[in-house]
């Protein structure tokens, strides 16, 4: 069983969480001209690396908060978790 450390609730089973996709995607700035390529990249293109990756997870059956997780996609080892307004370096 995979345990994920929620920044608010502590270690919890993966059963309580929902995967939210690539956590490195940045939305284009509001009220600025956005090219079709940039918009296409934001909406559709996602990284799918083999190894360390920053992902979004949602503690859907817990505190209902979104947060970032740095996880190895091969071994599933979780290195760090952080609140959504914090960066993982």
């Amino acid at each position: 069983m995979l345990n994920i450390k929620c920044p608010y609730c502590g270690d919890r089973s993966q059963k309580e969480f929902a995967y939210g996709g690539d956590g490195t995607v940045v939305r284009p700035q509001l009220n600025q001209e956005v090219t079709d390529e940039k918009w296409d990249e934001f909406v559709y293109l996602r990284k799918s690396p083999r190894g360390k990756h920053i992902e979004l997870w949602h503690h859907i059956a817990g505190c209902r908060q979104w947060f970032r997780v740095q996880r190895d996609t091969v071994t599933h080892e979780i290195f760090k978790t952080a609140k959504i307004n914090e960066e993982i370096k």
């Binding site: 608010y8 609730c9 270690d11 919890r12 059963k15 059956a61 817990g62 505190c63 209902r64 908060q65």
Partner: protein
């Protein structure tokens, strides 16, 4: 009018492997209803200091904790989010002036939850059967959101001696949750009261 979510499901009596066991040692399963239930959510952009707020003379508890008196229990649901259970049905009317509409949302959800209370020495064993939490680490005054056989629940650890916990879930999942919990109790025998 309040109609119990488990009106057609919860039957009193003894069930499972209860024969030859002392009544006092049996697990007790009961439904808790006719409570006022409301959610307090503090808005993200609010700077309001919650330490100045009391509901039924209780503080809004910190992470994974609850605060309670004989009428009311307040559970921490998530950051800036609390769930209040109270037998004082006028509590919202009495307390809502304290909550500025620009800082808080107060939502009456009395009809949307089902609450099952478990009492007895084997409460932790029942919870462990369907819930992935480290149940033994939770004591009286703690609370947690989790899942029970896939159903989202909130567990309120009410007392350690006698061991007592309340499990609440969405009303629409009440019947499934009840069957899930009572199925787990059959092995030990239980008394539905």
């Amino acid at each position: 009018m309040h109609i119990s979510p488990l009106n057609f499901v919860h039957k009193t009596g003894k069930f499972g492997d209860y024969s030859g066991k002392n009544d006092n040692d049996l697990l007790k399963v009961s439904e808790v209803n006719k409570l006022l239930i409301f959610q307090i959510a503090k808005f993200k952009n609010s700077n309001f200091d919650i330490s100045n707020i009391h509901v039924d003379e209780l503080n809004l508890p910190s992470s994974l904790k609850s605060s309670s008196n004989s009428n009311t229990r307040i559970l921490w649901l998530g950051p800036n989010n609390w769930l209040v259970f109270s037998s004082n049905l006028n509590l919202i009317e009495k307390e809502k002036k304290k909550f500025n509409e620009l800082d808080f949302a107060i939502t009456d959800i009395s009809h949307s939850r089902t609450i099952i209370e478990l009492e007895g020495n084997l409460v932790n064993e029942i919870l462990k059967k369907g819930c992935p939490l480290d149940i033994s680490s939770f004591k009286s005054g703690d609370c947690a959101n989790s899942v029970y056989n896939g159903i989202n629940i909130t567990i309120d650890f009410i007392s350690d001696n006698p061991k007592k916990a309340r499990i609440s879930g969405l009303r629409s999942f009440g019947e499934s949750l009840y069957h899930s919990i009572t199925d787990s109790c059959l092995e030990f025998g239980y008394k539905a009261i």
